[in-house]
Symmetry: C2
DNA sequence: AACGTTACTGGAAACGTTTCCGGAACAAAT
DNA sequence: ATTTGTTCCGGAAACGTTTCCAGTAACGTT
């Protein structure tokens, strides 16, 4: 069943069918009716390959992400996938490992799958101008702060929270409860990732509250992995360093850390207060319930697609959205 | 940069370039060398739309899933996506809501995206023959038991655990610890879903161990949702029904239930023993650590793609794989 | 009555591949 | 010397759309 068959059955030309199917203006009501009748009767769906070839484009939007393993991303992905579908595009997902260069992958993918646009999830900030311009379709970065990039901001869009300020406010919560010996559990500190930016917020908070920085209170792992967090935290606790509160840069890591604290017989929140950032569902069901600053995950996903689709349709400029976080008061603060 | 340009630059015909690119036999070493030199030099990637149109097929494999929100699925999806990519196909993901008919979506998607094959995640068993044959590409169902379907088994493939036996063995664990009053937290019981099958395993266990069934010990919700599990469990606990153990048909639900138990001042495992099925990462970090029967999630994903690709390439028959589960001894049994 | 608009239509080229088919070049067998 | 077969190659049709362009019919204007 091709457009030709439809044309024949409806008694019109191929061009007319095409026009009807694409809502072109220059077509009579009569023709629309005839064509649609046949289309519906035979449940005709145009061939995407032929259509894309004809228009020399596609309806693919690529989504590249590093580490879907962090449950934080699944909510965002869900929202993105949903919204892409609703907008009439097709989502093409590509996962990359931690050591792959996402922009190289993006460039390849763009050629290979003829993308209309790209969404990058959980990436870095220190792309060079050349790297960015090497990819020829509009793209939007999700979930890492705008202000810290070194790029011309009109070359891409971004949708995220203010990671620095959120980290600051997490530490502030601890400070307000009287904590001064605040340890931080983080990932890399120099790769332009969220980890680095949240760490910056932590440091600014310490400074503002006149708490001296102490390298002994920095617990660094090399992933956002829950198991890594658990092991590294356990090792650190063995050192017996004195502290009264722990700021984890992600919920996932906090869950690992809390198990380590439990193993070490530290009671949360009596012995150690804990706060984190993200607001994943699981962390609402830990014992005790984790206190955390929640990201508006669905909203992030939806907005990312919105912005991208607008740009694809030439209905908008690149923009940089910063969405608000909300405090979830759990049971890990005292 | 099209195949014509490559042909011109390499000094051969378009057909020859195509043959080289597709590893056809009838082409000289000399030609291969000349073409590949140009292809590599200009980093040429063939246009997928044109190629698909020419071959009247595509390289798309569809993945349909209900409720990616359950973290259990993310591991599987990750594995599936990875494997699809490695096999040279493109993953096209479609999420559906609980009330959508997955086979209708499958049929639509197949036409729309010209799929080569389909993977269905977390579906039902009671498809009719007509429904199944309405979708014209091979498909494999993941994560629900084979034996309970009412279909001709050579019409599709499946990869999953033995849900009935696993549920049986979960209840067996509780029985071996001396429990007789075993409540069960489940989802639907009559829709052909995993829930129904796991419930069947629970009932068989009771029977084998000479424990009378008791409707009061059945806690039913209408999703696999963690929040729903929490609320429904709380409501049930209010009734004050006597019980000593709880079998949850999924880890996710168990996490909700454990919070409800905590709210009700029931100590796990002293007052109530808990066991579940799935083995998601988060449930390894609950307090206390959940005891559960783990599914080989990565393995399931990889096998599903393996089987499907073999069938697409006419290198295999439809088959039904049942993968083993392993007990993770947590801290919720006594 | 001639002309310009307007509203719509159909023919056909174009998109970038794959693949069928016929043929060239050459070697081996008769 | 002719046939037969092998190996490789190029031309061109085909895939199913979109879209440009030319054209027709109806209608209002001068």
């Amino acid at each position: 069943m091709t457009i030709k068959d439809i044309a024949r059955l409806a008694g019109v030309s191929v061009s007319t069918v095409s026009r009807v199917l694409n809502n072109h203006p220059d077509v009579s009501q009569d023709a629309v009716k005839k064509v649609m009748a046949i289309v519906n009767k035979y449940n005709y769906i145009p061939n995407t390959s032929a259509r894309n070839l004809g228009m020399s484009s596609s309806d693919n939007i690529g989504v590249i992400m590093r580490g879907i393993s962090n449950p934080f991303y699944t909510k965002i992905i869900t929202a993105i996938g949903d919204k892409i579908e609703k907008s009439g595009y097709t989502m093409v997902m590509q996962q990359i490992s931690t050591d792959e260069d996402e922009l190289r992958v993006a460039a390849m993918m763009e050629k290979d799958k003829r993308l209309q646009g790209l969404i990058l999830l959980g990436g870095h900030l220190n792309y060079t101008k050349e790297q960015v311009s090497s990819i020829g379709v509009p793209f939007v970065c999700c979930t890492f702060s705008n202000e810290y990039g070194n790029l011309n901001s009109d070359q891409y869009s971004s949708v995220c929270i203010d990671d620095e300020a959120t980290a600051f406010s997490a530490v502030e919560q601890l400070y307000k409860k009287g904590h001064k010996k605040i340890a931080v559990l983080l990932s890399a500190v120099d790769d332009g990732s969220v980890s680095q930016v949240r760490y910056a917020g932590y440091k600014r908070a310490l400074k503002d509250f006149n708490i001296p920085e102490d390298d002994n209170l920095i617990i660094q792992i090399h992933s956002f992995n829950i198991a890594d967090a658990y092991h590294e935290m356990s090792k650190w606790l063995d050192k017996g360093i004195d502290f009264s509160a722990l700021f984890c840069i992600s919920d996932n890591m906090a869950m690992g850390a809390m198990k380590a604290l439990r193993d070490a017989k530290k009671i949360v929140p009596d012995d150690v207060a804990v706060i984190a950032i993200d607001g994943i569902e699981a962390s609402e069901y830990t014992n005790p319930v984790l206190s955390t600053l929640c990201q508006p995950m669905e909203h992030i996903g939806i907005k990312a697609v919105d912005v991208l689709v607008d740009i694809i349709n030439n209905e908008g400029q690149h923009q940089h959205l910063t969405l608000p976080t909300t405090l979830r008061e759990g049971e890990t603060l005292r």
